[in-house]
């Protein structure tokens, strides 16, 4: 128990119409970058909100640094930092003021306050914009400020809900570097959610894949990828018998789409392709295209949930909110 930052046991959260969390159990090590990956509505945000005592679970138990979140919610909140996926910096204040308010709410001693705020702003490279109004900030700067707010009390666990959502690739890279730096320099445990495969792959030590309130699997990205079983060959053919022929030949197919594409999982794909094409030709099946791909997290996701991850409503909503916000504050 001692090396665990977060422990979740049989967590259930039921809403009138849906079960947002349906018996989830896992734990996060101290100093780990842990990611929950899944499509929208998988229960990732609900999970974070339960851990931060923003909503009460229907049943189950959660501990953060051995503190029971149900029993001692204020203590839990005082050792955590939270960056919600929506805009959470106040556009009508300066960057300094935004951090100041949070330093006060986290009951930071008056003497240390100023120094600490300046430190955190410097860490996030916002010092030269400290006294500018936040509604003049770019999306990336806004995100950095939001992280500054969450860092000012030096949290042991930092919760990041979709940290790079709605950011351009450059800003996204900066945020990623920052997250890694935080863990490496201060040993902060990072608990993040994302629906971006690449982000999860680049950042996380371990990834839990969530789908419809369940934790489908949990492991290191490399292990997850090798669990797919090898390389993936995609074959498209106009011939409908292609799929059944492949099964007949003894290949394990993971998908067979309506447009005539079959995905096979194989070892040593490069050497297998010529052989595969020969067998299909002998069987009288015309192949239109072949492609070989090393497995990525998308395939892992497909394997464990039977679906491809897609951008759903919440993402679009968030982007809209961010846009509306920028428009209103300009």
């Amino acid at each position: 128990m001692e090396d665990k930052a977060v422990i979740v046991q049989d967590l259930v959260k039921e809403y009138p119409r849906v079960k947002a969390l349906d018996g989830v159990s896992f734990s996060v090590d101290k100093g780990e970058i842990f990611g929950l990956l899944g499509p929208n509505g998988a229960g990732k945000t609900t999970m974070i909100r339960v851990l931060l005592t923003l909503i009460k679970p229907t049943s189950g138990k959660t501990l953060i640094y051995d503190i029971d979140t149900a029993r001692n919610s204020q203590e839990v909140r005082s050792i955590c930092g939270y960056v919600p996926q929506d805009v959470s910096a106040d556009g009508d204040l300066t960057a300094y003021e935004n951090v100041l308010i949070y330093s006060k709410l986290y009951a930071m001693p008056r003497k240390e306050r100023k120094e600490r705020i300046n430190q955190v702003l410097e860490y996030l490279e916002l010092t030269n914009r400290a006294n500018d109004m936040v509604n003049t900030f770019s999306g990336g700067m806004m995100r950095r400020l939001e992280i500054a707010q969450a860092l000012v009390n030096r949290p042991r666990v930092l919760f990041l809900d979709e940290p790079s959502i709605g950011l351009d690739p450059n800003a996204r890279r900066i945020i990623w570097d920052l997250i890694k730096k935080l863990r490496n320099e201060f040993g902060t445990t990072i608990f993040m959610t994302t629906h971006d495969m690449n982000e999860a792959d680049v950042l996380c030590d371990r990834i839990g894949i969530m789908n419809r309130g369940h934790l489908a699997t949990l492991d290191k990205p490399s292990e997850l990828k090798s669990s797919v079983g090898g390389d993936i060959i995609s074959i498209t053919s106009g011939n409908r018998n292609c799929y059944s022929k492949l099964v007949e030949l003894g290949y394990s197919t993971i998908t067979n789409t309506a447009d005539g594409r079959c995905d096979l999982v194989v070892k040593n794909g490069e050497t297998l392709i010529p052989q595969l094409l020969d067998s299909l030709k002998t069987a009288g099946i015309q192949v239109e295209s072949v492609s070989l791909k090393k497995p990525n997290l998308d395939d892992v996701f497909l394997k464990y949930t039977g679906a491809r991850i897609e951008e759903g409503d919440t993402f679009a909503d968030t982007r809209r909110t961010r846009r509306v916000f920028t428009r209103l504050t300009k």
């Binding site: 923003l54 960056v83 919600p84 929506d86 959470s88 204040l93 308010i101 709410l105 939001e146 969450a150």
Partner: protein, 263 residues
């Protein structure tokens, strides 16, 4: 000792939330000026017109002009308008993510609500300063000794707190900005008309009078009128008690509602 510490923290957090609001107002003062337009119209146009009515003049306390009678009512109304739409801010902050982030700090829910309510009170104070200045410009004679003005500020803070809590409690039920706009419109006028803000209770239709008596705004107007116009403070303790009671009740309702807001 522990209780004191918890209380201290509670109020510190509430004042921090209010500080946030004050800082916002400091950065952008345009809305203070915008909000002076409506009371000015009430006093200049409505007030001047109505003061020509005999029925009105004979029913207000003797020794007062109608404008003197009405100014405290207009003050109460303008502070009420600020407070009653306060729930929209909270819905807006929830939609953005600000509210979730606030709730993830160690500050308790009720201290956050109290802080928001105080913010509405602060806006009310600015409003009352503006109206007193307006009254001076229009040469409406008011009692302006410092003790009375302090009393006015106290009443206005309570007014802002009370009705912003009503608004936040409603926001937790109705949950969208559009609906809150409608709700705000739907309740301000009844609250305003069913009070003694712009005419004495005595000449109002008899069926509204019972409503006026349970309307917190009636007590607010009565207190403000005593402090600013008549100088008669006999009913002030009852008024303050009634307003404070309503404020506490709605503060509790709004705190309970906050949980519903975010789930």
């Amino acid at each position: 000792m522990n209780v004191l510490k918890t209380m201290g923290k509670f109020f510190y957090n509430a004042f921090t939330i209010a500080e946030l609001e004050v800082r916002k107002i400091r950065h952008d003062q345009t809305q203070i000026w915008m909000r002076m337009v409506q009371p000015a119209l009430w006093l200049i146009i409505y007030g001047e017109t109505m003061s020509k009515l005999n029925a009105m003049n004979s029913s207000i306390p003797s020794g007062l002009t109608y404008l003197q009678f009405m100014t405290p009512g207009v003050l109460a109304q303008s502070a009420l308008f600020v407070a009653i739409f306060f729930g929209i801010n909270v819905v807006w902050e929830r939609d953005l993510g600000l509210l979730n982030k606030l709730l993830s700090t160690p500050a308790s829910r009720s201290s956050i609500i109290l802080g928001k309510a105080l913010s509405a009170g602060v806006r009310g104070i600015l409003q009352s300063i503006a109206i007193v200045i307006l009254a001076l410009i229009l040469r409406i004679h008011l009692i302006l000794n410092p003790v009375h003005l302090a009393g006015v500020f106290l009443i206005v803070i309570l007014l802002g707190m009370c009705f912003s809590c009503v608004s936040m409690a409603l926001a937790s039920i109705f949950r969208t900005r559009e609906r809150m706009m409608g709700i705000g419109q739907a309740i301000t006028m009844p609250l305003f008309f069913a009070s003694s803000a712009i005419y004495p209770l005595a000449i109002m239709p008899s069926w509204i009078q019972p409503f006026a008596r349970i309307n917190p705004l009636t007590y607010v107007v009565d207190a403000l009128r005593g402090l600013l116009a008549t100088g008669n403070l006999a009913s002030l303790p009852i008024d303050i008690f009634a307003i404070a009671l309503a404020t506490v009740v709605f503060l509790i309702l709004a705190s309970l509602g906050l949980k519903r807001m975010v789930s």
